[in-house]
């Protein structure tokens, strides 16, 4: 596309153009004034311009007005703006046959007819007409450039909405469970609308929708403000509605660039009800569709979607009935089983309890009986044992005492005999002594005893010569007279 664009240097062109004018002015003020007819002058200008601008030029300009005439010719106003101020302006013309061709090409490429207010790349020829004056004859318009411009507008709208954080705003709204009450923005002549209504109204499930049409232009430059206007109206009565739908269809794919319009897109994105679009085209999604709560390719599809939401609601409601039936039955069945199991369990437990209690009592009773008998038996044994011990210990006592007695009985004669022997010995010792002492036994050995007056002689019983003494021997008793007395030398 770039090689097609050959821009015409306006400044340069202007300088040559004005030299031509200067020439005209200088001639008009000369002394020997030469009078030209207007036609001469205008023809001269035309000639000059024709000579000067023989070829065609590629000019970038905004088509301010199209001014299409019934004749099929169009006389657009071209301007150049800088900071919203018009800095250049010129009228242009497109002849019928050119216009038809250009428009056809446009719709084919851009999917839009020529549109006012857009910047275009124009192939122009500078023409001067004696009666109509200077204008640019548009020979061709580059649709690719326009397409680029449209893309740019789309990008810009998106960027702005992004910046304003509105891109998702509508999509973030809660979608009603049943989008029953529908504000329709469409045209009553639109085939899209009739498709949409047909699907909604002829649903075999008898779903009831309430729809109200808000008429609007659906394409071209008028569409955006028209739709915005209706959105404003809907806003006023929004409590009567669940969703807004924008449906269009059957109008081909041309004139949809209005749906990239920033104002419209902003209005949609920031609308307080979910907006559904079904504007029927197959090309790139417009920004309006992108920011809408939901986009359907066609109105029919949109209607189907709405019906589907009813289904989505209706199915679980219908299922709920089934669930109620089956779950109730199951719940009751489960509880009945639990209950009957518990009842059985209860009966068993009660019976087991009694059985246990009886057994325990029987066991305890038996134990009691055994213990009573054991106690008696044990005591009897103790008694028997005591009795036996009595006998044993008695017998032992007898035996011990008998033995001790016997011991003494045995000792008695021995001890007596010993004693007797000792006495006898003592006695015989005495007897011996006495025998030894007996004077008779002394006399036997030749000794004799002399006495005087019956007394043995000693110092106390002295003897005088002449005394009669008596001498006793073992065998004799002699009487003598003392003849001599001698003292023993001591």
């Amino acid at each position: 596309m770039a090689k097609l664009i050959r821009t015409w240097n306006i400044e340069h062109g202007t300088s040559t153009f004005f030299s031509e004018i200067n020439w005209l002015i200088s001639s008009s003020v000369s002394e020997n004034r030469q009078i030209f007819s207007l036609q001469q002058v205008v023809s001269s200008i035309r000639k000059t311009i024709e000579e000067r601008y023989q070829s065609s030029y590629w000019v970038k300009a905004e088509m301010h007005k199209l001014n299409l005439y019934p004749s099929g010719h169009a006389f657009p106003e071209l301007v150049q703006k800088e900071n919203d101020k018009i800095v250049a302006q010129i009228n242009a013309s497109i002849w019928n046959h050119n216009f038809q061709r250009i428009n056809k090409q446009f719709i084919q490429v851009v999917k839009e007819p020529l549109k006012e207010g857009t910047t275009l790349l124009l192939n122009v020829k500078v023409v001067f007409h004696e009666t109509f004056g200077l204008s640019l004859q548009i020979l061709d318009i580059d649709p690719n450039y326009a397409l680029g411009e449209l893309q740019r507008e789309r990008e810009e709208t998106l960027k702005k909405l992004q910046a304003e954080r509105l891109i998702n705003a509508n999509q973030l709204l809660d979608f009603p469970l049943l989008p029953k009450r529908i504000a329709i923005i469409s045209a009553d002549t639109s085939k899209g609308l009739s498709d949409f209504m047909k699907v909604l109204n002829n649903n075999p499930w008898n779903y009831q929708f309430f729809t109200m049409l808000f008429q609007a232009y659906l394409q071209g430059d008028v569409a955006a403000p028209s739709i915005i206007e209706q959105l404003k109206r809907i806003e006023k009565v929004k409590h009567h509605f669940d969703v807004v739908v924008i449906v269009r269809g059957g109008g081909g794919e041309v004139g949809l660039s209005c749906y990239n319009n920033y104002e419209l897109c902003k209005a949609i994105a920031s609308f307080s009800l979910p907006i559904l679009t079904g504007i029927g085209h197959s090309t790139n999604m417009t920004v309006a569709e992108l920011v809408a709560f939901r986009n359907a390719i066609t109105p029919t599809e949109l209607a189907d979607f709405l019906l589907q939401t009813f289904h989505d609601f209706s199915v679980p409601v219908n299922d709920a009935r089934k669930v109620l039936r089956t779950s109730s039955a199951r719940l009751l069945e489960t509880n009945k089983q639990l209950f009957s199991a518990e009842t059985k369990h209860f009966k068993n437990s009660a019976n087991n309890y009694l059985l246990d209690a009886k057994n325990t009592l029987v066991v305890t009773s038996q134990k009691f009986k055994n213990e009573a008998k054991t106690l008696l038996t044990r005591n009897r044994e103790h008694l028997h044992f005591a009795q036996k011990e009595c006998l044993n210990y008695s017998n032992r006592l007898f035996k011990v005492n008998r033995e001790k007695l016997a011991e003494h009985v045995e000792q008695l004669p021995t001890k007596f005999a010993n004693r007797l022997a000792k006495e006898q010995q003592q006695l015989s010792e005495m007897e011996n002594m006495v025998r030894l002492m007996d004077p008779k036994n002394v006399l036997k050995r030749g000794y004799s005893i002399t006495t005087i007056n019956g007394q043995t002689l000693d110092i106390n019983n002295p003897v005088k010569i002449g005394d009669t003494i008596k001498t006793v021997t073992y065998d004799f008793e002699l009487t003598s007279t003392v003849l001599k007395k001698e003292e023993h030398d001591e």
Partner: protein, 65 residues
């Protein structure tokens, strides 16, 4: 009562009852009440699907103001 019930609330309550019943989280005591309630809710919801509530003329009148 059912007339006052918002169908959204009704739908959610119904689904909750259905979930509870499926999960077996309803006692025998609650069962009849829950089933009764669910049947009411079903009626509310079904009715909503096939009823029309809005009046174009009223809206048009509101739009005039």
């Amino acid at each position: 009562m059912t007339n006052e019930l918002n169908y959204t609330v009704a739908f959610e309550e119904l689904q909750q009852i259905v979930r509870d019943m499926e999960d077996g989280e309803i006692t025998v005591d609650e069962l009849a009440i829950k089933v009764k309630r669910a049947s009411e809710l079903i009626k509310v919801c079904k009715n909503k699907l096939t009823s029309t509530e809005e009046d174009v003329n009223l809206i048009l009148k509101e739009l005039e103001n």
